[in-house]
């Protein structure tokens, strides 16, 4: 009746194995973890690919001297047309042209100075016209054009997507799954066995930790192969940062799931926690764009810490010492949220 020789695996090993099986048998979970970040990277990589510098569009108001100005402007950098005053004004308003040139003495440049593109156009136009009119430059210059890998948008984006994926797969993979088990009374069923509660919770953490070893290489390899995004620093350090990040968000996921009684509640709570970080933690654009006043708040967010650390290692080749601050934030977030979750956790 009782067991023969094959020694059963430990409860923790079996629970972790079950977590892995359930994950790999759930196509939507697979997509959100692996497919979605890749699709995002491809879409954004295409949208923000590096293009040759764009020409500036200029209107020259019809009148004496217009044709002469037009001839002086015509080049690959400047596309100019002659328009009557009303049309030129309308085109400026809708952004079809960046500058309207009104020939005469003095010559007038009409443009919106808050738009960088317009200021650039004004400089280019003035430069070309003054030279055509005989201005001499005191120093001869030559231009040297460079595109530095590591400074492109895609180089910025890939570590951000990695951070975002680590956050959402940890949160969903733990928060949502635990609440689902609770509503299906499976937690209760398992509590009716001698299973240790600690093993149950630990299996989620172990699963997340092991998962990082799959998730991170897949995304990093994709970034490298598809967009030539290179890891300048140590790959091991990237893994270590990712692991710490995954555990910090595992703690948050557990906290969010600790009392929720149905999956709608936990879904809402998770969006509440994650949405500010999607926007404010520098996934798609640098969080430096936000006002100085909110910077301390943004810098304390775990996803900001994770993204900063990942970018420092991947883009700039930072060592462990240089990312101590974000690592401490992640560690604290993990420890505090785990402690709170264990206090609050509702088992039945």
């Amino acid at each position: 009746m009782t067991d023969g020789p094959p020694k059963p695996r430990s409860a923790l090993a079996e629970l972790t194995l079950a977590r892995f099986r359930l994950f790999f048998r759930e196509p939507s979970a697979m997509f959100w973890t692996f497919g979605f970040p890749v699709v995002l990277a491809v879409a954004l990589g295409i949208a923000f690919r590096n293009r040759p510098p764009e020409a500036v569009y200029v209107a020259v108001e019809a009148g004496p001297g217009a044709e002469k100005a037009l001839a002086a402007l015509a080049s690959t950098e400047v596309k100019a047309t002659v328009e009557d005053a009303a049309t030129a004004r309308a085109e400026l308003r809708v952004g079809k042209v960046s500058v309207v040139v009104v020939p005469g003495e003095p010559r007038t440049y009409r443009y919106d100075e808050t738009r960088p593109q317009a200021r650039l156009a004004r400089l280019l136009v003035d430069d070309r016209l003054q030279r055509a009119e005989g201005r001499l430059d005191p120093t001869r210059v030559t231009d040297e054009h460079v595109t530095e890998p590591g400074a492109r948008y895609i180089d910025f984006l890939v570590p951000g997507l990695l951070g975002m994926t680590l956050m959402s797969s940890s949160m969903w993979g733990i928060g949502y799954v635990i609440v689902e088990l609770r509503t299906k009374k499976l937690v209760k069923r398992m509590l009716a066995t001698p299973m240790r509660k600690g093993d149950f919770l630990l299996s989620f953490v172990v699963m997340r930790a092991l998962f990082v070893l799959i998730e991170v290489p897949v995304l990093v390899a994709f970034g490298w192969l598809a967009f030539d995004v290179r890891v300048v620093g140590s790959v091991l350090l990237v893994l270590a940062v990712s692991l710490l990040g995954a555990l910090a968000f595992a703690g948050l996921g557990l906290l969010v799931a600790s009392r929720a009684q149905n999956t709608q509640t936990v879904g809402g709570l998770m969006n509440l926690v994650m949405m500010p970080m999607f926007v404010g933690s520098g996934v798609f654009f640098s969080s430096a764009n936000f006002p100085e006043a909110v910077q301390p708040v943004l810098r304390a967010l775990p996803l900001t810490a994770l993204n900063d650390a990942l970018r420092a290692v991947i883009n700039e080749g930072a060592g462990a010492g240089a990312i101590a601050r974000p690592m401490v934030i992640l560690g604290l977030c993990g420890v505090l949220s785990f402690a709170a979750a264990l206090k609050l956790f509702r088992w039945l």
């Binding site: 009782t2 067991d3 059963p8 194995l17 099986r21 069923r189 009716a192 039945l348």
Partner: protein, 310 residues
């Protein structure tokens, strides 16, 4: 039933939710080792609450619980190793295979039965690698019972194991339970199916509104009606003279049922001719007459005036 040791005891058990709702209202029970004990009652009678308190999943508001001579407060882990539990509804993970689920549950116990042995016991060998989501209702329920048996328990709790199952699946599950009983182990089962209790249980306790209203072997409880047989009568004209019929030889009680009357009768061959003679003498015409064995359902109706499924 004979060893004398007690598997389960509770006294003055009370469970109150939010002050107002009393789910269990002063319940005393004692189940000897080796007995199959049935808790019977309609939905909402407090059966599940009672069982979950006994299983250590709910704390009672008041009262004492002793399981296998131990207390939940001090011996939880040791108790869990020796108990098998099947909850009223368990949704096991849809995308785990039957064998994987049993292996998972087996890993929680320090000793127990091998998954293959259990699959044989519940006739699910062929479903070993099928996902839980692909099982029929009866197969799911047998797997739930297999999960309860995985620690080779001394005491097995089954909360409405056959509710919603087709007759064939119920029979299969009864076989599994009877096989378990053969080992001299203790079973506590809740049900609102009377035939299930009569077939499986050595003793039953009838619960209503959180109180135990009757306790005994199915035979004794049925005998307490005064007759093993029931005569159901519908008359074409006029009411039955209940007082006179109640005094007929072999008739031990009369009560109203939908569309007519039910008579507790024993022996049937005395009561039936007497009834027919009485009706002929009174000039009344029978529209319908049938007889059947008395069941626990009759006991419940006699005790509460309501049907179990009401």
């Amino acid at each position: 039933m004979s060893s004398g040791a007690t598997a389960l005891r509770c006294s003055a058990l009370v469970k109150r939710y939010d002050r107002a709702v009393v789910a269990v209202d002063g319940l005393d029970l004692e189940v000897p080792v080796g007995e199959c004990f049935g808790l019977l009652g309609p939905n909402g009678a407090g059966k599940t609450t009672t069982v979950e308190i006994l299983e250590g999943l709910l704390d009672p508001t008041a009262g004492e619980v002793e399981v296998l001579g131990m207390r939940w407060k001090t011996d939880e882990r040791a108790l869990r190793e020796r108990l098998g539990v099947s909850l009223q509804e368990t949704h096991l993970p849809d995308r785990l295979a039957v064998g994987e689920i049993l292996t998972l549950f087996r890993s929680f116990f320090t000793r127990g039965r091998s998954p293959d042995d259990l699959l044989r016991a519940v006739s699910l060998e062929e479903k070993k690698s099928a996902w839980y989501s692909k099982l029929s209702g009866g197969q799911k329920q047998r797997l739930a019972v297999a999960c309860a048996l995985v620690g080779d328990p001394e005491l097995l709790f089954l909360d409405e194991p056959t509710t919603g199952l087709d007759p064939q699946s119920r029979l299969q599950l009864w076989d599994v339970i009877e096989e378990f009983k053969k080992g001299g182990r203790t079973v506590v089962i809740t049900t609102h199916y009377m035939d299930e209790a009569e077939r499986l249980c050595d003793r039953v306790g009838v619960v209503d509104h959180g109180k135990l209203i009757a306790l005994g072997t199915p035979r004794d409880l049925i005998a307490s009606l005064g007759g093993q047989e029931v005569i159901e009568v519908t008359l074409a004209d006029g009411p039955l003279d209940e007082a006179a019929v109640g005094k007929l030889p072999g008739v031990h009680g009369v009560r109203h049922v939908a569309g007519g009357f039910a008579l507790a009768a024993d022996p049937l061959h005395v009561a039936l001719p007497a009834l027919v003679d009485h009706l002929r003498a009174a000039g009344q015409t029978l529209e319908r007459l049938s007889t059947r064995h008395a069941t626990l359902e009759d006991v419940f109706v006699a005790l509460t005036g309501r049907h179990l499924r009401d």
